[in-house]
Protein backbone atom coordinates (compact mmCIF):
# COMPACT_ATOMS: atom_id res chain seq x y z
CA UNK A 1 0.00 0.00 0.00
CA UNK A 2 1.43 3.30 -0.98
CA UNK A 3 1.29 6.24 1.33
CA UNK A 4 0.98 9.79 0.13
CA UNK A 5 4.31 11.53 0.26
CA UNK A 6 5.88 8.56 2.01
CA UNK A 7 7.75 5.45 1.04
CA UNK A 8 6.49 2.27 -0.52
CA UNK A 9 5.61 -0.80 1.44
CA UNK A 10 8.98 -2.44 0.91
CA UNK A 11 8.02 -5.94 1.96
CA UNK A 12 5.14 -6.13 -0.52
CA UNK A 13 7.25 -4.80 -3.33
CA UNK A 14 10.13 -7.03 -2.39
CA UNK A 15 7.75 -9.94 -2.64
CA UNK A 16 6.73 -8.75 -6.06
CA UNK A 17 10.28 -8.38 -7.17
CA UNK A 18 11.18 -11.76 -5.71
CA UNK A 19 8.50 -13.30 -7.89
CA UNK A 20 10.10 -11.47 -10.82
CA UNK A 21 7.26 -9.04 -11.22
CA UNK A 22 4.63 -11.51 -12.36
CA UNK A 23 1.44 -9.64 -13.24
CA UNK A 24 -1.30 -9.78 -10.65
CA UNK A 25 -4.79 -10.12 -12.00
CA UNK A 26 -6.27 -8.94 -15.23
CA UNK A 27 -5.13 -5.51 -16.29
CA UNK A 28 -6.33 -4.65 -19.76
CA UNK A 29 -5.25 -1.03 -19.50
CA UNK A 30 -3.04 -0.06 -16.64
CA UNK A 31 -4.31 2.59 -14.35
CA UNK A 32 -7.87 1.33 -14.19
CA UNK A 33 -7.30 -0.96 -11.24
CA UNK A 34 -9.79 0.50 -8.81
CA UNK A 35 -7.13 1.11 -6.15
CA UNK A 36 -7.13 4.86 -6.55
CA UNK A 37 -7.10 6.49 -3.18
CA UNK A 38 -5.96 10.02 -3.89
CA UNK A 39 -4.40 12.29 -6.46
CA UNK A 40 -0.76 11.43 -6.95
CA UNK A 41 -0.23 14.55 -9.05
CA UNK A 42 -2.02 17.87 -8.91
CA UNK A 43 -1.13 20.53 -11.46
CA UNK A 44 -2.68 23.98 -11.19
CA UNK A 45 -2.13 26.74 -13.75
CA UNK A 46 1.47 25.63 -14.26
CA UNK A 47 3.42 27.78 -16.70
CA UNK A 48 6.93 28.10 -18.04
CA UNK A 49 8.46 30.97 -19.96
CA UNK A 50 12.10 30.44 -20.90
CA UNK A 51 14.72 33.16 -20.77
CA UNK A 52 14.56 33.50 -24.58
CA UNK A 53 10.89 34.45 -24.30
CA UNK A 54 9.40 31.14 -25.43
CA UNK A 55 6.22 30.36 -23.52
CA UNK A 56 6.49 26.59 -23.55
CA UNK A 57 3.66 25.92 -21.10
CA UNK A 58 0.79 28.35 -20.62
CA UNK A 59 -1.08 27.63 -17.42
CA UNK A 60 -2.03 23.98 -17.61
CA UNK A 61 -4.03 22.13 -14.96
CA UNK A 62 -4.71 18.44 -14.52
CA UNK A 63 -4.82 15.73 -11.89
CA UNK A 64 -3.49 12.21 -11.97
CA UNK A 65 -4.91 9.67 -9.58
CA UNK A 66 -2.77 7.18 -7.71
CA UNK A 67 -2.09 4.12 -9.84
CA UNK A 68 -3.28 5.81 -13.01
CA UNK A 69 -1.35 6.04 -16.27
CA UNK A 70 -1.76 9.53 -17.64
CA UNK A 71 -0.54 10.47 -21.08
CA UNK A 72 0.41 13.92 -22.27
CA UNK A 73 -0.09 13.69 -26.02
CA UNK A 74 0.91 16.37 -28.46
CA UNK A 75 3.11 17.20 -31.43
CA UNK A 76 6.77 18.09 -31.05
CA UNK A 77 7.12 21.56 -29.58
CA UNK A 78 3.75 21.47 -27.81
CA UNK A 79 5.25 21.70 -24.31
CA UNK A 80 5.22 18.05 -23.25
CA UNK A 81 8.84 17.75 -22.17
CA UNK A 82 8.75 21.08 -20.36
CA UNK A 83 5.66 19.95 -18.46
CA UNK A 84 7.15 16.63 -17.40
CA UNK A 85 10.46 18.40 -16.70
CA UNK A 86 8.69 20.72 -14.26
CA UNK A 87 6.99 17.77 -12.55
CA UNK A 88 10.36 15.99 -12.33
CA UNK A 89 12.07 19.12 -10.87
CA UNK A 90 14.39 19.58 -13.85
CA UNK A 91 12.65 22.72 -15.09
CA UNK A 92 11.62 25.56 -12.80
CA UNK A 93 8.02 26.74 -13.29
CA UNK A 94 7.52 30.47 -13.76
CA UNK A 95 3.90 30.43 -12.57
CA UNK A 96 1.35 28.10 -11.04
CA UNK A 97 1.99 25.15 -8.78
CA UNK A 98 2.17 21.39 -8.85
CA UNK A 99 2.51 18.62 -6.31
CA UNK A 100 3.82 15.13 -6.97
CA UNK A 101 3.31 12.42 -4.34
CA UNK A 102 2.26 15.21 -1.99
CA UNK A 103 5.37 17.33 -2.46
CA UNK A 104 5.52 20.71 -4.11
CA UNK A 105 7.75 20.73 -7.21
CA UNK A 106 9.43 23.96 -6.09
CA UNK A 107 9.45 23.94 -2.29
CA UNK A 108 9.69 20.19 -1.75
CA UNK A 109 11.93 19.22 -4.66
CA UNK A 110 14.36 17.21 -2.54
CA UNK A 111 11.66 15.02 -0.96
CA UNK A 112 9.83 14.81 -4.25
CA UNK A 113 12.86 13.30 -5.97
CA UNK A 114 12.83 10.36 -3.55
CA UNK A 115 9.34 9.53 -4.77
CA UNK A 116 9.82 9.64 -8.51
CA UNK A 117 11.57 7.73 -11.24
CA UNK A 118 12.41 9.59 -14.44
CA UNK A 119 13.24 8.06 -17.81
CA UNK A 120 14.45 10.74 -20.19
CA UNK A 121 13.53 11.47 -23.78
CA UNK A 122 17.10 10.68 -24.79
CA UNK A 123 18.15 7.97 -22.37
CA UNK A 124 20.13 9.59 -19.54
CA UNK A 125 22.66 6.85 -18.99
CA UNK A 126 26.27 6.55 -17.87
CA UNK A 127 27.98 5.21 -20.96
CA UNK A 128 31.22 4.22 -19.21
CA UNK A 129 29.35 2.07 -16.67
CA UNK A 130 28.05 -1.43 -17.25
CA UNK A 131 24.30 -1.92 -17.09
CA UNK A 132 24.60 -3.57 -13.67
CA UNK A 133 26.91 -0.87 -12.26
CA UNK A 134 24.60 1.84 -13.51
CA UNK A 135 21.55 0.36 -11.82
CA UNK A 136 23.35 -0.39 -8.57
CA UNK A 137 24.62 3.19 -8.34
CA UNK A 138 21.15 4.53 -9.03
CA UNK A 139 19.73 2.31 -6.31
CA UNK A 140 22.37 3.37 -3.84
CA UNK A 141 21.73 7.04 -4.55
CA UNK A 142 18.19 6.35 -3.35
CA UNK A 143 19.54 4.84 -0.15
CA UNK A 144 19.36 1.13 -0.97
CA UNK A 145 21.98 -1.17 0.55
CA UNK A 146 24.55 -2.53 -1.86
CA UNK A 147 23.03 -6.01 -1.63
CA UNK A 148 19.47 -4.86 -2.23
CA UNK A 149 20.51 -2.58 -5.08
CA UNK A 150 22.39 -5.46 -6.72
CA UNK A 151 19.43 -7.81 -6.27
CA UNK A 152 16.99 -5.37 -7.79
CA UNK A 153 19.41 -4.56 -10.58
CA UNK A 154 19.56 -8.24 -11.52
CA UNK A 155 15.78 -8.58 -11.47
CA UNK A 156 15.13 -5.40 -13.41
CA UNK A 157 17.76 -6.15 -16.03
CA UNK A 158 16.07 -9.48 -16.53
CA UNK A 159 12.70 -7.84 -16.72
CA UNK A 160 13.78 -5.44 -19.46
CA UNK A 161 15.58 -8.22 -21.31
CA UNK A 162 19.12 -7.08 -20.62
CA UNK A 163 20.38 -9.80 -18.29
CA UNK A 164 22.83 -11.03 -20.93
CA UNK A 165 24.20 -7.50 -21.33
CA UNK A 166 24.41 -6.75 -17.60
CA UNK A 167 28.20 -6.61 -17.57
CA UNK A 168 28.56 -4.87 -20.91
CA UNK A 169 29.29 -1.14 -21.00
CA UNK A 170 26.23 0.96 -21.77
CA UNK A 171 28.20 2.81 -24.43
CA UNK A 172 28.07 -0.41 -26.44
CA UNK A 173 24.29 -0.76 -26.13
CA UNK A 174 21.89 -0.05 -29.00
CA UNK A 175 19.41 2.84 -28.70
CA UNK A 176 16.64 0.47 -27.63
CA UNK A 177 18.84 -1.18 -25.00
CA UNK A 178 19.78 2.23 -23.59
CA UNK A 179 16.11 3.11 -23.29
CA UNK A 180 15.41 -0.13 -21.48
CA UNK A 181 18.29 0.25 -19.02
CA UNK A 182 17.18 3.85 -18.42
CA UNK A 183 13.67 2.59 -17.69
CA UNK A 184 15.06 -0.02 -15.30
CA UNK A 185 17.09 2.64 -13.52
CA UNK A 186 13.97 4.74 -13.05
CA UNK A 187 12.38 1.77 -11.28
CA UNK A 188 15.25 0.61 -9.09
CA UNK A 189 13.86 2.35 -5.98
CA UNK A 190 10.25 1.37 -6.83
CA UNK A 191 8.99 4.93 -6.91
CA UNK A 192 5.31 5.73 -6.37
CA UNK A 193 5.38 7.96 -9.45
CA UNK A 194 7.14 7.26 -12.73
CA UNK A 195 7.76 9.88 -15.41
CA UNK A 196 8.50 8.75 -18.94
CA UNK A 197 9.42 11.41 -21.46
CA UNK A 198 8.80 10.08 -24.97
CA UNK A 199 9.75 6.55 -23.92
CA UNK A 200 9.87 5.12 -27.44
CA UNK A 201 10.97 8.14 -29.46
CA UNK A 202 13.38 7.13 -32.22
CA UNK A 203 12.98 3.39 -31.67
CA UNK A 204 12.10 0.93 -34.39
CA UNK A 205 8.61 -0.61 -34.21
CA UNK A 206 9.84 -3.85 -32.67
CA UNK A 207 11.77 -2.09 -29.91
CA UNK A 208 8.76 0.16 -29.35
CA UNK A 209 6.43 -2.76 -28.83
CA UNK A 210 8.99 -4.34 -26.48
CA UNK A 211 9.01 -1.17 -24.35
CA UNK A 212 5.20 -1.06 -24.34
CA UNK A 213 5.01 -4.64 -23.19
CA UNK A 214 7.58 -4.00 -20.47
CA UNK A 215 5.66 -0.96 -19.27
CA UNK A 216 2.36 -2.81 -19.21
CA UNK A 217 3.91 -5.68 -17.31
CA UNK A 218 5.54 -3.37 -14.80
CA UNK A 219 2.43 -1.37 -14.17
CA UNK A 220 0.37 -4.50 -13.79
CA UNK A 221 2.77 -5.70 -11.13
CA UNK A 222 3.60 -2.49 -9.32
CA UNK A 223 0.52 -0.38 -10.05
CA UNK A 224 2.52 2.78 -9.82
CA UNK A 225 1.33 6.13 -11.07
CA UNK A 226 2.79 6.82 -14.49
CA UNK A 227 2.89 10.04 -16.48
CA UNK A 228 4.20 9.67 -19.99
CA UNK A 229 4.59 12.11 -22.81
CA UNK A 230 4.31 11.01 -26.39
CA UNK A 231 3.50 12.15 -29.86
CA UNK A 232 2.59 8.63 -30.92
CA UNK A 233 -1.21 8.24 -30.96
CA UNK A 234 -1.01 4.47 -30.82
CA UNK A 235 1.25 4.62 -27.79
CA UNK A 236 -1.11 6.90 -25.89
CA UNK A 237 -4.11 4.84 -26.95
CA UNK A 238 -2.53 1.58 -25.90
CA UNK A 239 -0.88 2.56 -22.63
CA UNK A 240 -2.82 5.39 -21.05
CA UNK A 241 -5.89 5.30 -18.84
CA UNK A 242 -6.42 9.01 -19.46
CA UNK A 243 -4.88 11.43 -21.88
CA UNK A 244 -4.42 15.17 -21.90
CA UNK A 245 -3.91 16.49 -25.42
CA UNK A 246 -1.54 19.45 -25.36
CA UNK A 247 -1.19 22.12 -28.01
CA UNK A 248 1.03 25.21 -27.82
CA UNK A 249 1.42 24.84 -24.07
CA UNK A 250 -2.26 24.34 -23.28
CA UNK A 251 -4.30 21.20 -22.62
CA UNK A 252 -7.06 21.31 -25.19
CA UNK A 253 -8.82 18.00 -24.48
CA UNK A 254 -8.72 15.50 -21.68
CA UNK A 255 -10.32 12.12 -21.02
CA UNK A 256 -9.98 8.40 -21.55
CA UNK A 257 -9.02 7.42 -25.09
CA UNK A 258 -12.57 6.15 -25.64
CA UNK A 259 -14.09 9.40 -24.36
CA UNK A 260 -11.83 11.50 -26.52
CA UNK A 261 -12.60 9.49 -29.65
CA UNK A 262 -16.30 9.52 -28.88
CA UNK A 263 -16.15 13.29 -28.65
CA UNK A 264 -15.32 13.40 -32.37
CA UNK A 265 -18.55 11.53 -33.00
CA UNK A 266 -19.46 9.02 -35.69
CA UNK A 267 -16.88 8.05 -38.25
CA UNK A 268 -14.58 9.87 -40.59
CA UNK A 269 -14.45 9.66 -44.36
CA UNK A 270 -10.98 10.48 -45.54
CA UNK A 271 -10.88 12.01 -49.04
CA UNK A 272 -7.52 12.22 -50.76
CA UNK A 273 -6.94 14.77 -53.51
CA UNK A 274 -4.11 15.26 -55.95
CA UNK A 275 -1.03 17.04 -54.65
CA UNK A 276 -1.59 19.92 -57.05
CA UNK A 277 -5.06 20.66 -55.65
CA UNK A 278 -4.66 24.11 -54.18
CA UNK A 279 -6.09 25.22 -50.85
CA UNK A 280 -8.80 27.22 -52.65
CA UNK A 281 -10.06 24.15 -54.49
CA UNK A 282 -10.12 22.17 -51.26
CA UNK A 283 -11.95 25.00 -49.50
CA UNK A 284 -14.63 24.97 -52.22
CA UNK A 285 -15.10 21.21 -51.82
CA UNK A 286 -15.23 21.63 -48.06
CA UNK A 287 -17.92 24.31 -48.30
CA UNK A 288 -19.96 22.15 -50.67
CA UNK A 289 -19.76 19.19 -48.30
CA UNK A 290 -20.75 21.29 -45.31
CA UNK A 291 -24.04 22.14 -47.02
CA UNK A 292 -25.11 18.51 -46.81
CA UNK A 293 -27.12 17.49 -43.76
CA UNK A 294 -25.32 14.15 -43.21
CA UNK A 295 -21.96 15.89 -42.90
CA UNK A 296 -21.13 17.05 -39.36
CA UNK A 297 -17.72 18.61 -39.97
CA UNK A 298 -14.97 18.83 -42.56
CA UNK A 299 -11.31 19.49 -41.79
CA UNK A 300 -8.72 20.08 -44.51
CA UNK A 301 -5.18 18.95 -43.82
CA UNK A 302 -2.19 17.99 -46.01
CA UNK A 303 -4.32 17.84 -49.19
CA UNK A 304 -6.86 15.57 -47.50
CA UNK A 305 -10.36 16.26 -46.33
CA UNK A 306 -11.59 14.53 -43.17
CA UNK A 307 -15.37 14.38 -43.29
CA UNK A 308 -17.20 13.51 -40.06
CA UNK A 309 -20.41 11.58 -40.66
CA UNK A 310 -22.61 9.30 -38.57
CA UNK A 311 -22.51 6.17 -40.72
CA UNK A 312 -19.75 6.34 -43.30
CA UNK A 313 -20.57 3.14 -45.17
CA UNK A 314 -24.11 4.32 -45.86
CA UNK A 315 -23.41 7.89 -46.91
CA UNK A 316 -20.17 7.31 -48.84
CA UNK A 317 -21.76 6.31 -52.22
CA UNK A 318 -24.10 9.29 -52.21
CA UNK A 319 -21.31 11.69 -51.23
CA UNK A 320 -19.10 10.36 -54.00
CA UNK A 321 -21.84 10.90 -56.59
CA UNK A 322 -22.35 14.39 -55.19
CA UNK A 323 -18.66 15.20 -55.52
CA UNK A 324 -18.50 13.79 -59.05
CA UNK A 325 -21.38 16.04 -60.07
CA UNK A 326 -19.42 18.97 -58.66
CA UNK A 327 -16.33 17.87 -60.58
CA UNK A 328 -14.50 17.29 -57.29
CA UNK A 329 -14.21 13.52 -57.08
CA UNK A 330 -11.33 12.50 -54.80
CA UNK A 331 -8.45 10.28 -55.90
CA UNK A 332 -9.13 7.92 -53.03
CA UNK A 333 -11.63 7.47 -50.25
CA UNK A 334 -11.29 5.53 -47.02
CA UNK A 335 -13.38 5.08 -43.91
CA UNK A 336 -11.70 5.66 -40.57
CA UNK A 337 -12.81 5.03 -37.04
CA UNK A 338 -12.08 8.14 -34.99
CA UNK A 339 -8.50 8.31 -33.71
CA UNK A 340 -6.74 10.57 -31.27
CA UNK A 341 -5.29 12.40 -34.28
CA UNK A 342 -8.88 13.22 -35.27
CA UNK A 343 -9.45 14.62 -31.79
CA UNK A 344 -6.42 16.86 -32.21
CA UNK A 345 -7.41 17.80 -35.73
CA UNK A 346 -10.92 18.67 -34.60
CA UNK A 347 -9.68 20.77 -31.68
CA UNK A 348 -6.96 22.68 -33.49
CA UNK A 349 -7.78 22.47 -37.19
CA UNK A 350 -4.33 21.09 -38.01
CA UNK A 351 -2.41 17.81 -37.95
CA UNK A 352 0.41 16.88 -35.57
CA UNK A 353 2.91 17.15 -38.41
CA UNK A 354 1.80 20.65 -39.40
CA UNK A 355 2.02 21.84 -35.82
CA UNK A 356 5.41 20.21 -35.28
CA UNK A 357 6.76 21.98 -38.38
CA UNK A 358 5.32 25.31 -37.18
CA UNK A 359 6.83 24.86 -33.70
CA UNK A 360 10.19 23.93 -35.23
CA UNK A 361 10.18 27.08 -37.39
CA UNK A 362 9.15 29.20 -34.41
CA UNK A 363 11.98 27.87 -32.29
CA UNK A 364 14.56 28.28 -35.05
CA UNK A 365 13.33 31.79 -35.74
CA UNK A 366 13.76 32.77 -32.10
CA UNK A 367 17.17 31.20 -31.85
CA UNK A 368 18.42 32.95 -34.98
CA UNK A 369 17.14 36.29 -33.72
Amino acid sequence: MRQKGGTLDESRLRDLLSSELEPRGAHPRFGGNGTRTSDAIVVEALAKRYANGVEAVRGISFRVETGEVYGILGPNGAGKSTTIGMLGTLVRPTAGRATVAGFDVAAGAKDLRRNIGFAMQEAGVDELATGAEFLVLQGRLYGLSRREAARRARLLLGLVGLDAAANQRIGEYSGGMKRRVDLASALIHLPPVLFLDEPTEGLDPRARVAIWETLQRLNAALQMTVVLTTHYMEEADRLCGRIGIIDRGRIISEGTPAELKASVGGQTLSLRYAHDSGPDALARVRNSLLQRSEVHAVVASDGDLSVDVEDAATVAPELLRFLERKGAAPQALSIKQPTLEDVYLRSTGKSFEEEAVRAHHDTNGRESR
Partner: protein, 256 residues
Protein backbone atom coordinates in the same frame (compact mmCIF):
# COMPACT_ATOMS: atom_id res chain seq x y z
CA UNK B 1 26.61 -0.54 4.05
CA UNK B 2 23.30 1.26 3.77
CA UNK B 3 22.84 4.96 3.16
CA UNK B 4 26.31 5.71 1.79
CA UNK B 5 26.69 9.40 1.03
CA UNK B 6 25.93 10.39 -2.55
CA UNK B 7 29.24 12.28 -2.63
CA UNK B 8 31.18 9.10 -1.84
CA UNK B 9 29.12 7.02 -4.28
CA UNK B 10 29.78 9.49 -7.07
CA UNK B 11 33.45 9.79 -6.13
CA UNK B 12 33.76 6.04 -6.39
CA UNK B 13 31.93 6.01 -9.70
CA UNK B 14 34.45 8.47 -11.18
CA UNK B 15 37.43 6.61 -9.68
CA UNK B 16 36.19 3.30 -11.07
CA UNK B 17 35.83 4.77 -14.52
CA UNK B 18 39.26 6.41 -14.86
CA UNK B 19 40.87 3.31 -16.37
CA UNK B 20 38.03 3.11 -18.91
CA UNK B 21 38.67 6.59 -20.24
CA UNK B 22 41.47 6.60 -22.84
CA UNK B 23 41.96 10.36 -22.53
CA UNK B 24 42.68 10.13 -18.82
CA UNK B 25 44.88 7.07 -19.16
CA UNK B 26 46.68 7.93 -22.37
CA UNK B 27 47.12 11.67 -22.43
CA UNK B 28 47.32 12.90 -18.87
CA UNK B 29 50.47 11.27 -17.49
CA UNK B 30 52.74 9.69 -20.16
CA UNK B 31 53.33 12.94 -22.13
CA UNK B 32 54.30 14.81 -18.98
CA UNK B 33 56.66 12.05 -17.88
CA UNK B 34 58.19 12.01 -21.33
CA UNK B 35 58.53 15.78 -21.36
CA UNK B 36 60.07 15.66 -17.88
CA UNK B 37 62.75 13.25 -19.00
CA UNK B 38 63.38 14.91 -22.40
CA UNK B 39 63.48 18.51 -21.11
CA UNK B 40 65.44 17.39 -18.08
CA UNK B 41 68.08 15.94 -20.39
CA UNK B 42 68.05 18.76 -22.99
CA UNK B 43 68.33 21.63 -20.52
CA UNK B 44 70.46 19.89 -17.91
CA UNK B 45 73.43 22.14 -18.63
CA UNK B 46 71.48 25.11 -17.23
CA UNK B 47 72.43 23.85 -13.77
CA UNK B 48 76.02 24.86 -14.40
CA UNK B 49 75.13 28.54 -14.70
CA UNK B 50 76.12 30.69 -11.74
CA UNK B 51 73.41 31.01 -9.09
CA UNK B 52 71.40 27.98 -10.19
CA UNK B 53 69.91 26.56 -6.99
CA UNK B 54 70.68 22.84 -7.49
CA UNK B 55 73.09 20.45 -9.15
CA UNK B 56 70.27 18.15 -10.27
CA UNK B 57 68.16 19.75 -12.96
CA UNK B 58 65.36 17.19 -12.47
CA UNK B 59 64.94 18.51 -8.93
CA UNK B 60 64.46 22.00 -10.35
CA UNK B 61 62.08 20.85 -13.05
CA UNK B 62 59.99 18.48 -10.90
CA UNK B 63 57.59 21.07 -9.34
CA UNK B 64 56.80 22.48 -12.79
CA UNK B 65 56.26 18.97 -14.12
CA UNK B 66 53.84 18.30 -11.24
CA UNK B 67 51.90 21.43 -12.25
CA UNK B 68 52.02 20.24 -15.86
CA UNK B 69 50.27 17.10 -14.65
CA UNK B 70 47.68 18.66 -12.38
CA UNK B 71 46.62 21.67 -14.48
CA UNK B 72 45.74 19.86 -17.73
CA UNK B 73 44.73 16.84 -15.63
CA UNK B 74 41.95 18.75 -13.91
CA UNK B 75 40.54 19.60 -17.33
CA UNK B 76 39.73 15.92 -17.76
CA UNK B 77 37.26 16.41 -14.94
CA UNK B 78 35.49 19.01 -17.06
CA UNK B 79 35.60 16.71 -20.06
CA UNK B 80 33.84 14.12 -17.90
CA UNK B 81 31.29 16.73 -16.84
CA UNK B 82 30.62 17.74 -20.45
CA UNK B 83 30.29 14.06 -21.37
CA UNK B 84 27.70 13.63 -18.61
CA UNK B 85 25.81 16.61 -20.02
CA UNK B 86 26.01 15.24 -23.53
CA UNK B 87 24.84 11.77 -22.55
CA UNK B 88 22.17 13.43 -20.39
CA UNK B 89 23.32 11.37 -17.43
CA UNK B 90 23.77 14.56 -15.45
CA UNK B 91 20.06 15.31 -15.82
CA UNK B 92 19.33 11.81 -14.62
CA UNK B 93 21.41 12.49 -11.52
CA UNK B 94 19.53 15.74 -10.96
CA UNK B 95 16.28 13.78 -10.62
CA UNK B 96 17.80 11.67 -7.81
CA UNK B 97 18.11 12.74 -4.17
CA UNK B 98 21.80 13.56 -4.76
CA UNK B 99 22.27 17.30 -4.33
CA UNK B 100 24.00 19.37 -6.96
CA UNK B 101 26.80 19.93 -4.43
CA UNK B 102 27.27 16.17 -4.01
CA UNK B 103 27.38 15.70 -7.78
CA UNK B 104 30.07 18.37 -8.14
CA UNK B 105 32.06 17.34 -5.09
CA UNK B 106 31.94 13.66 -6.02
CA UNK B 107 33.72 14.31 -9.28
CA UNK B 108 36.10 16.83 -7.76
CA UNK B 109 37.26 14.50 -4.99
CA UNK B 110 37.89 11.68 -7.43
CA UNK B 111 39.86 13.96 -9.70
CA UNK B 112 41.85 15.33 -6.76
CA UNK B 113 42.81 11.78 -5.82
CA UNK B 114 43.85 11.13 -9.41
CA UNK B 115 45.92 14.31 -9.56
CA UNK B 116 47.62 13.46 -6.26
CA UNK B 117 48.61 10.09 -7.66
CA UNK B 118 49.75 11.33 -11.06
CA UNK B 119 51.66 14.24 -9.51
CA UNK B 120 53.21 11.72 -7.12
CA UNK B 121 54.37 9.62 -10.07
CA UNK B 122 56.29 12.66 -11.38
CA UNK B 123 57.97 13.15 -8.00
CA UNK B 124 58.88 9.47 -7.85
CA UNK B 125 60.45 9.76 -11.27
CA UNK B 126 62.46 12.78 -10.09
CA UNK B 127 63.71 10.69 -7.17
CA UNK B 128 64.55 7.85 -9.53
CA UNK B 129 66.61 10.30 -11.62
CA UNK B 130 68.73 11.23 -8.63
CA UNK B 131 66.70 14.10 -7.26
CA UNK B 132 65.80 14.68 -3.63
CA UNK B 133 62.92 16.35 -1.84
CA UNK B 134 64.33 18.65 0.85
CA UNK B 135 61.17 18.50 2.97
CA UNK B 136 60.69 14.76 2.60
CA UNK B 137 57.37 12.93 2.38
CA UNK B 138 55.38 15.64 4.19
CA UNK B 139 56.76 18.30 1.87
CA UNK B 140 55.91 16.15 -1.14
CA UNK B 141 52.31 15.88 0.07
CA UNK B 142 52.17 19.63 0.60
CA UNK B 143 53.52 20.19 -2.91
CA UNK B 144 50.86 17.90 -4.35
CA UNK B 145 48.15 19.65 -2.30
CA UNK B 146 49.21 23.08 -3.55
CA UNK B 147 49.42 21.87 -7.16
CA UNK B 148 46.02 20.18 -6.99
CA UNK B 149 44.24 23.12 -5.36
CA UNK B 150 45.81 25.57 -7.78
CA UNK B 151 44.76 23.44 -10.74
CA UNK B 152 41.20 23.36 -9.40
CA UNK B 153 40.82 27.11 -8.93
CA UNK B 154 42.41 28.03 -12.25
CA UNK B 155 42.00 25.57 -15.08
CA UNK B 156 39.45 23.53 -13.17
CA UNK B 157 37.14 26.52 -12.81
CA UNK B 158 37.73 27.66 -16.40
CA UNK B 159 37.05 24.29 -17.96
CA UNK B 160 34.14 23.41 -15.66
CA UNK B 161 32.37 26.63 -16.68
CA UNK B 162 33.15 25.89 -20.30
CA UNK B 163 31.66 22.41 -19.88
CA UNK B 164 28.52 23.82 -18.26
CA UNK B 165 28.07 26.44 -20.95
CA UNK B 166 28.92 24.36 -24.02
CA UNK B 167 28.07 20.84 -22.79
CA UNK B 168 30.62 19.75 -25.35
CA UNK B 169 33.73 17.68 -24.46
CA UNK B 170 35.50 18.83 -27.64
CA UNK B 171 35.14 22.49 -26.63
CA UNK B 172 36.77 21.71 -23.30
CA UNK B 173 39.60 19.81 -24.93
CA UNK B 174 40.22 22.76 -27.24
CA UNK B 175 41.54 24.88 -24.36
CA UNK B 176 44.04 22.29 -23.14
CA UNK B 177 47.04 24.15 -24.70
CA UNK B 178 46.29 27.12 -22.45
CA UNK B 179 47.24 24.94 -19.50
CA UNK B 180 50.79 24.67 -20.80
CA UNK B 181 51.00 28.43 -21.34
CA UNK B 182 50.22 28.96 -17.65
CA UNK B 183 53.30 26.91 -16.75
CA UNK B 184 55.59 27.92 -19.62
CA UNK B 185 55.33 31.59 -18.63
CA UNK B 186 57.02 30.97 -15.31
CA UNK B 187 60.46 30.01 -14.06
CA UNK B 188 59.59 26.40 -14.83
CA UNK B 189 62.78 25.73 -16.82
CA UNK B 190 65.23 28.37 -15.65
CA UNK B 191 65.59 30.96 -12.96
CA UNK B 192 64.24 34.46 -13.56
CA UNK B 193 67.78 35.89 -13.61
CA UNK B 194 68.58 33.75 -16.63
CA UNK B 195 65.67 35.15 -18.64
CA UNK B 196 66.93 37.95 -20.87
CA UNK B 197 63.62 39.46 -21.95
CA UNK B 198 62.34 42.09 -19.56
CA UNK B 199 58.82 41.61 -20.88
CA UNK B 200 58.93 37.91 -20.15
CA UNK B 201 60.21 38.59 -16.62
CA UNK B 202 57.30 40.99 -16.09
CA UNK B 203 54.83 38.39 -17.36
CA UNK B 204 56.34 35.84 -14.97
CA UNK B 205 55.82 38.24 -12.08
CA UNK B 206 52.20 38.78 -13.11
CA UNK B 207 51.46 35.07 -13.57
CA UNK B 208 49.90 33.63 -10.39
CA UNK B 209 51.33 30.23 -11.33
CA UNK B 210 54.80 31.61 -10.60
CA UNK B 211 54.01 32.15 -6.90
CA UNK B 212 52.67 28.64 -6.53
CA UNK B 213 55.68 27.25 -8.34
CA UNK B 214 58.11 29.17 -6.12
CA UNK B 215 56.53 27.71 -2.98
CA UNK B 216 56.65 24.21 -4.44
CA UNK B 217 60.26 24.63 -5.57
CA UNK B 218 61.28 25.77 -2.10
CA UNK B 219 59.68 22.62 -0.68
CA UNK B 220 61.63 20.58 -3.23
CA UNK B 221 65.02 22.29 -2.98
CA UNK B 222 65.47 24.14 0.31
CA UNK B 223 62.81 23.61 2.97
CA UNK B 224 59.63 25.12 4.39
CA UNK B 225 59.47 28.79 3.38
CA UNK B 226 56.25 29.70 5.13
CA UNK B 227 56.09 33.13 3.51
CA UNK B 228 56.19 31.55 0.06
CA UNK B 229 53.75 28.81 1.10
CA UNK B 230 51.40 31.41 2.61
CA UNK B 231 51.54 33.47 -0.57
CA UNK B 232 50.75 30.38 -2.67
CA UNK B 233 47.68 29.62 -0.55
CA UNK B 234 46.66 33.28 -0.72
CA UNK B 235 46.79 33.13 -4.51
CA UNK B 236 44.72 29.93 -4.44
CA UNK B 237 42.22 31.48 -2.01
CA UNK B 238 41.87 34.63 -4.09
CA UNK B 239 41.31 32.77 -7.33
CA UNK B 240 38.95 30.37 -5.58
CA UNK B 241 36.85 33.20 -4.17
CA UNK B 242 36.31 34.45 -7.70
CA UNK B 243 35.97 31.17 -9.55
CA UNK B 244 34.07 28.85 -7.22
CA UNK B 245 30.95 31.01 -6.66
CA UNK B 246 30.84 31.64 -10.41
CA UNK B 247 31.01 27.92 -11.09
CA UNK B 248 28.31 27.13 -8.52
CA UNK B 249 26.07 29.81 -10.02
CA UNK B 250 26.55 28.45 -13.50
CA UNK B 251 26.04 24.91 -12.29
CA UNK B 252 22.69 25.85 -10.78
CA UNK B 253 21.65 27.14 -14.19
CA UNK B 254 21.38 23.53 -15.37
CA UNK B 255 17.91 23.70 -13.85
CA UNK B 256 16.31 25.51 -16.73
Amino acid sequence: MKGASPTWLLTRRTLTQFPRNPIVVGFAVPPVLMMFVVFGTLFASVRHLPGFPTDNYYEYLAPAAVLMTTIPGIANSAVGLATDFQSRYLYKLLTTPASIGAIMLGRLLADSARLFITGGVVLLLALALGGQIATGFAGALLMLLIATLFAMVTFGVLTANLAIKTKDPAAVQAVFPMAFLLVFLTTAYQTQDQVESGLLRAIMDANPTEYVLRAMRDLMLTGYDWDAIGLAFLVILGLGLIGIPLTIRNYRSVYR
